[in-house]
Amino acid sequence: MLNLVPLEVFVNRIIKEGNAVHGYTVFDNTVFENLRIIYSGKLLEGITYLIKNSKDSFYTFDRFCQYIIYLQFQPALGLTLKFSDYKNDTDAALEEYKLLRDNNWRKEDTDKIMKIFQEILEDKNNTARLVIKKPI
C-alpha cells in the first residue's frame, strides 16, 4: 500500500544564526541516508560512485527544497552535509556570502550559493523538515 512520507532529512546538529538555520550531518551513514532522499536514479548512482571511489577531497553545492546544501568529502574525515535555510532573508544570505568571500572562498562557489538562494526565493515549492538524529 502506498503511503505519503513526510519529506525529512536527518542532521546531527542544528544551529540558528539570526534568521538563518543551519543543519549539520557529520556521520557517513546519515549523509548517505540523506542523499537517498535528496537524489534518485542515475544522479544518486553517480554521486555514490564518486564518493566510494574518490581518493581526493571534493565538495559541491546544490538545492534541496528550501535549503542550500553543501556536501563535502575528505578521505581522512569522510562526508559532511550542511543544510542552510535563510528563511528568504536576503540580508542573512548576503552576510554569509560576504563572510565566505572574506575567507577567500572561490568566486564561482560564492556566486553559485547566491544563485541557488535566488532560485529558492523565486520558487518556494516544497519544504523539508530537519530532524535531529544521533545529536552531537
Binding site: M1, L2, N3, L4, V5, P6, L7, E8, I37, S40, C65, N125, N126, T127, A128, R129
Partner: protein
C-alpha cells in the same frame, strides 16, 4: 501528533502541507509535492464557506491530521511538484463527515 501540518487552504478542495510529502512507487519512481487534493469533496458553489470551514478544521487545529490511500493526479510536468488525491482524516474521522451538505453519493 501528525507528521504533517496543513499550512494553507489553496482552494476549496486543495490544501498545502508542511513538510512536503514524498511518494515512492513500487518501481522506485519518486514523486514529491506539497499539495493534496481532498478526495470526495465535490463542490458546485459555496467555495468561501468551504474554505473557511477547512481553515477552522485543518489549519487552526492541534488535532491529528492524516492522509490515506494517495493517488497521483498531477505529476506529468514535474515529478518534484506533483499533486496527490487523498482521503483526509481529522482525529481519525474522514474530513467529509464535516461537509454533509457537499457529499454526493450515486
Amino acid at each position: 501528533m501528525s507528521n504533517f501540518k496543513v499550512t494553507e487552504i489553496i482552494d476549496s478542495t486543495t490544501i498545502r502541507v508542511f513538510p512536503s510529502w514524498q511518494l515512492k512507487l513500487k518501481d522506485d519512481e519518486t514523486f514529491m509535492g506539497d499539495k493534496i487534493v481532498i478526495r470526495g469533496l465535490i463542490l458546485e458553489d459555496n467555495e468561501a464557506l468551504v474554505k473557511e470551514r477547512l481553515n477552522q478544521l485543518l489549519v487552526d487545529t492541534n488535532k491529528e491530521i492524516s492522509f490515506n490511500a494517495p493517488e497521483l493526479v498531477d505529476y506529468i510536468d514535474n515529478p518534484n511538484d506533483a499533486k496527490v488525491s487523498c482521503s483526509v482524516y481529522l482525529a481519525k474521522t474522514n474530513i467529509l463527515y464535516y461537509f454533509p451538505e457537499f457529499i454526493h453519493t450515486h
